[in-house]
């Protein structure tokens, strides 16, 4: 599996072959607080880089989840829909959101590595 990359919209992505796995970052999960609702895209749906692909809601507010890559949704993680609280427990592991068959792998080049993302997240939190 590839090195984990991060988007400015607080998603992480890893890639295996041409399939990307996407989730929200630990930082995002912490900011959201207790997650109580997850909505995922339908399988087969075509999504565009930085386009809306899902929704997470905490007790506080609703937030869109974006896709950091363009392609077709091949799989979604039903377990986080059934038990949204597990997103807070393991946001960057078992609580992935969806898988995308990536159209253009070079899209990943524009994303941040872990160190850059952590710096970015720190600067963008008040």
């Amino acid at each position: 599996m590839s090195e984990k990359k991060y988007s400015k919209q607080h998603e992480w992505v890893t890639i295996e072959g041409d399939v990307a796995t996407v989730g929200i970052t630990k930082h995002a999960a912490e900011l959201l607080g207790d997650i109580v609702f997850v909505e995922l895209p339908d399988k087969g749906k075509n999504v565009e880089k930085e386009g809306q692909a899902g929704v997470v809601e905490s007790t506080k507010a609703a937030s869109d989840v974006y896709t950091p890559v363009t392609g077709e949704i091949t799989e979604t993680n039903q377990s986080i829909v059934d038990d949204p609280a597990i997103v807070n427990k393991d946001p960057e592991g078992t609580s992935w959101f969806f898988k995308v068959k990536v159209k253009n792998k070079s899209e990943l080049d524009g994303l941040m590595n872990k160190a850059d993302y952590e710096k970015f997240a720190k600067e963008n939190t008040n």
């Binding site: 607080g33 109580v36 609702f37 909505e39 929704v55 007790t59 506080k60 949204p84 807070n88």
Partner: protein, 364 residues
């Protein structure tokens, strides 16, 4: 406008609070354990809320005070007993609500607890209604904290001797570190609990004492989920200047004599609402799935006609499902009525529900 801080600000910070601006104050929205855990602690044990941003208004007695106050507050002030508290409203001319409040009869007159966002405006309205001779004090030197949860009484009794014998919606004077404090058995969570009015210079010491006895600090986030489960209104959302208490399903809060006799501003609307011209009612709404319907979500009938609007909505940690409140047309207000909620362009099935969502545990 400068953001104000309560006397407990530094203490909140030391306890790991995350702050949000609320009604001109920097208030803790949650601490490190998070909203859901804070909510559950309050239901199971006891939680401490800083509500010092709320207005504490003393109106000193004079011979006409009850009569004059009754013109703007629709409760029976002839019947209210010393140290008794009542939930009521500051009414406007159109029968809407300027603010909802708790009024307590005290030796000096009446103490009224007002919403933070409304308190300065309320002061002007009350002052102008009572005339220039009236004596009003909106305390700046007093803090207000709420201790809420089933263990509240047992815990507070250790510090304040005799407090556990207070009955719900009653108060009394007590002493703490040699200073007078005033405690009522009341709250905004659907749990047994107390609200403690205490001088600013003592409040941190008092809070620390409770925290050292296992009480957890609770932020505004959990305060909102707790009150919503308890079916309690949030001013500015579930009730406002254009909702009448009858529409808000709060008829019980208007004393019987006042409902019949009127004599307060906005009575025309109240009377006509009670006599058949009511068109909408505040209700509980339970989505069937997990979707959360927040303020502003439109409510539709099963045949897709728009019938109302959600005014508050969240996930209820104790009922373990999404819950909401809102207004619907009267003929859709019966509990069990099937409705649809439009969330992010999609319609979701929901049911009109009884309030509260969570059964109250008050000590009467």
């Amino acid at each position: 406008m400068n953001t104000q801080k309560t006397a407990l600000y530094d203490y909140h910070k030391s306890l790991g609070a995350k702050f949000v601006p609320f009604a001109g104050y920097e208030m803790p929205v949650q601490y490190s354990s998070g909203i859901v855990e804070e909510h559950k602690i309050t239901r199971r044990n006891a939680g401490l809320f800083d509500v010092s941003h709320m207005g504490q208004l003393l109106i000193e007695d004079n011979e006409n005070l009850s009569k004059e106050l009754e013109k703007i507050i629709p409760i029976d002030l002839k019947k209210i007993k010393l140290n008794q508290s009542k939930y009521s409203f500051l009414m406007n001319e159109q029968g809407g609500i300027y603010d909802d409040l708790i009024i307590t009869k005290v030796e000096k007159g009446f103490i009224i607890i007002l919403n933070a966002a409304c308190k300065n405006n309320d002061f002007k309205i009350i002052k102008s209604a009572l005339g220039s001779k009236s004596k009003l004090t909106l305390y700046k030197n007093l803090s207000l904290v709420a201790l809420q949860g089933p263990k509240s009484s047992e815990i507070l009794e250790k510090t304040i001797n005799g407090v556990s014998s207070l009955k719900f919606m009653n108060g009394n004077k007590y002493s703490y570190n040699g200073k007078e404090i005033y405690i009522t058995r009341s709250g905004y969570t659907g749990e047994d609990g107390f609200e403690i009015s205490i001088p600013n210079e003592l409040v941190e010491d008092f809070a620390k004492k409770l925290i050292s006895q296992g009480v957890k600090p609770i932020g505004l986030g959990a305060r909102d989920t707790l009150r919503l489960e308890a079916g309690l209104c949030l001013y500015g959302h579930d009730i406002n200047e254009s909702t009448s208490p009858i529409e808000a399903n709060l008829k019980w809060a208007i004393s019987k004599r006042r409902r019949e006799e009127g004599g307060f501003v906005g009575y025309g609307k109240i009377k006509s609402d009670m006599n058949g011209s009511l068109t909408r009612l505040r209700v509980g709404v339970k989505p069937e799935g997990k979707v959360i319907a927040r303020e502003g979500v439109k409510i539709f009938s099963k045949d897709n006609n728009e019938i109302g609007l959600v005014t508050s909505g969240t996930f209820g940690p104790s009922v373990n499902q999404p819950i909401a409140m809102g207004y619907v047309k009267l003929n859709f207000s019966e509990p069990g009525t099937k409705v649809l909620l439009e969330v992010r362009g999609k319609k979701y099935e929901a049911n009109i529900s009884e309030l509260p969502f969570y059964k109250k545990n008050y000590v009467r």
